[in-house]
Symmetry: C2
Subunit: 458 residues, 2 copies
């Protein structure tokens, strides 16, 4: 699918390293008809870029005042099917939360009209928050899972779509009848996605055992074999809550620990995304690192359902690859920008007991939200930054026109307050701490405009 050659002119910001942003106030980025970045100019004059080689006729998109281009966000863990429950969890913790809120909702996705309404909304909403790539848990229903893949493709969101496998410890109305049923159904979803996107340019199937407690050893083993056969990525949960960890120990008495359950069944691989990782032991972290498996940090969820505080600084220091996940609806928000804030705040709660080094900076949170997430999903060569050859998965952020002399609010404006005189770094911090979807005025995936707000390009 070709897009119009476009030159994006204005400030652009992306991560240079974990702790440092590359802020380029006078940039221009040229994106070709394949959605790939062809050249990057770092110091153009007066907003004009001189081009040749057929780029003279390219479309031009410019940022507004207090605007900048930023890589699209990567949500490495989100349950699309749980979206209607966002904000509803009472005082539950993981295991009762599943039974009270989650299984009844997920189990209803045999209703394809309901699935269509919810999945369309999730994809529209996450795009509006600047999420250009999402790792979705769907449900165990094949038609609804395939529909989610279709919707992502139609709306243009890059996505990993997983049919959830679970053959025990789930209600009768929502469980795979057998291992072979689970594998057959999973293959049907893989086949569908590979049919609609044979080159995996946008939508990628992902092998999805819900988590160890709801899968028999036999099912895990078959899913591990499926990975060996297909080389497809894997996503699951790990070490979220103490009761769950005890349950895994009870259910898998021959395993050394939770991580070993996945390792022993061929599911701990460089393409594995492990959500939560709140209570991992040093031994488990070493094993995860040696297998080059990846971590999805879900701070809002970990706080909301009182799972605990993941030790992100420790994991980063040890060389693990970490991204952010909203974990809707354990987490209340489908916004990765909001999740950055949650990551910053959870890191401060860790710092209260473990010392100041645990604190994350806004720059680090944004790294996790972009480059980190890209590495978690194995696409670090293609997305998460603005290098030549990478794909244009990006958002245009506008911090508004600034506060006027009279202090009046303008209709429709967002919450970020630019009083003038803030450095670029401070403006980025304000965006992270006080921004929301109103600041994400346009979103592109592979060069295609997939979301915009009214008046974004006036």
């Amino acid at each position: 699918m070709g897009v119009e050659r476009t030159i994006y002119i204005g400030p652009f910001i992306h991560s240079k390293s974990l702790s440092e942003l590359d802020i380029c106030p006078n940039g221009a980025i040229a994106v070709d008809e394949y959605g790939k970045i062809r050249f990057v100019s770092r110091d153009i004059k007066d907003g004009q870029v001189s081009v040749d080689g057929g780029w003279e006729k390219a479309k031009v998109v410019k940022t507004p005042k207090n605007g900048f281009f930023f890589p699209g966000f990567i949500d490495t863990h989100i349950h699309a099917s749980q979206y209607p429950n966002a904000g509803i969890f009472g005082k539950s913790t993981l295991l009762d939360w599943l039974n009270t809120y989650t299984f009844p909702l997920e189990g209803s996705f045999h209703d394809i009209q309901k699935a269509s309404r919810i999945y369309n909304r999730v994809v529209a909403r996450t795009l509006s928050h600047g999420t250009t790539t999402a790792c979705y848990f769907a449900t165990n229903h094949v038609p609804a899972t395939n529909l989610l893949a279709d919707i992502c493709q139609t709306r243009g969101q890059r996505a990993f779509v997983g049919r959830v496998c679970m053959d025990r410890m789930s209600p009768d109305y929502y469980r795979d009848a057998s291992v072979s049923d689970a594998i057959t159904s999973t293959r049907q979803c893989i086949d569908h996605i590979q049919r609609i996107d044979p080159e995996a340019s946008l939508i990628i199937p992902i092998i999805t055992p819900r988590f160890a407690p709801s899968c028999t050893h036999d099912l895990l083993l078959h899913l591990g074999n499926l990975h060996k056969e297909t080389h497809l990525p894997i996503q699951t949960h790990i070490s979220e809550n103490h009761s769950e960890i005890q349950l895994v120990a009870d259910l898998f008495p021959n395993s050394k620990h939770y991580t070993d359950v996945y390792d022993a069944t061929g599911l701990l691989t460089p393409r594995t995304i492990l959500a939560h990782a709140v209570h991992l032991t040093p031994d488990e972290r070493r094993l995860i690192k040696s297998r080059r498996a990846k971590i999805s940090h879900c701070p809002a969820s970990n706080t909301a359902i009182t799972s605990g505080t993941a030790k992100v600084r420790t994991m980063l220091d040890e060389g693990l690859t970490v991204g952010l996940g909203t974990d809707v609806s354990g987490g209340h928000t489908p916004s990765i920008l909001a999740e950055c804030r949650e990551a910053l705040y959870v890191s401060r709660h860790v710092a209260m007991t473990e010392g100041d080094a645990a604190k994350l900076s806004p720059e680090e949170a944004l790294y996790l939200a972009t480059r980190g997430g890209a590495a978690v999903v194995g696409l670090e060569e293609r997305i998460g930054g603005f290098e030549v050859g990478m794909e244009w998965d990006a958002q245009m952020v506008s911090l508004g026109a600034g506060v006027g002399d009279g202090g009046e609010l303008e209709p429709g404006e967002g919450l970020v307050e630019v009083f003038g005189g803030e450095s670029w770094e401070e403006r980025v911090h304000k965006w992270v701490y006080t921004g929301d979807d109103r600041n994400t005025v346009a979103v592109w995936v592979r060069g295609r405009l997939v979301h915009s707000r009214e008046g974004w390009n006036d």
Copy 2:
């Protein structure tokens, strides 16, 4: 100032007790020309209320679909002058944060034009978040502090406005030159406010020693005497951070503890608002309770600058009076709705170490934001709920038209997702966890419309 007699028709929700909301789906509330609630109907039919006694001609305001009336929020602790720094604090903690970010900004409020722009913005913005009452720390500048009072009155926000007193441990450019200077300046602000609002119907002066470390014993003593003379309320900080507590111990070697510093100087009274109270000892809590002083809980700030986690459940169980404070700009948000979310999350971090009983519910957070705050500021007979005789400080909340079949987003709509079938309780939870200022479509103080969003009354 008279307002038009109005009958507010639609669902209304307010706190019945700490843990219970009174949800009235078919209500009508009549507000007279003094902004007082004259009658409340709990079960009207078809949105029609039959009235007599001159109410036939009253104006009618109805809620939209998925709308309800809710008491205005009370922010018991906000530094109006720090607003431009919201979201900017790096990895600092209290004492370095003051020197790096706060004093330079506050010290600049000799510039009255700057003060005007910032204070107008703060009042407009907090009103837009549904804050009908705010306890403001201004700066030590008399003209700027008086201007803040003027702005609150003009814009119609109920406010406690305090000139900040500090005669040591502050930079040369921003410090009261002497105790008598501090008292004289404070009296000038009190006089001004009592001149513009002689009946204290909206704006009330508040005695404001910044916090013990920046006040000499002599200054505290004089401010205590000023309270004895004027009976005006008092606001200050207490026990926010370990270094600060140690500093107080060093500066006041004859005091038993931090709380005793205020008690010994006549500042621990039933009209005293103590912000933070993160690390209070049981002995201090007993003393605070016996003096009937009040607590402003500021969870966002306590997390952001890594002060610690206030033990709200303990304080409530012991019978202390607690409200919420945004503590801008230690806290990143001027929204009490967002602060409810922060309170819920901080309570979960407390629960991780102290057990599940520490968890707050959305109902409890909303109580703290309304009735609790009203009690903290001593106005529990007048605001915070919808009883006959109370004043109409209220917001109209709209959760939007609901998610359509196609899942499309509508321009301008907020983030709360009503899929249909949610109970009222669940809708309220969604508002608390996912709502923002877009859901607060109109705001009244004493019956006067002080904020509305475009199209709120279509």
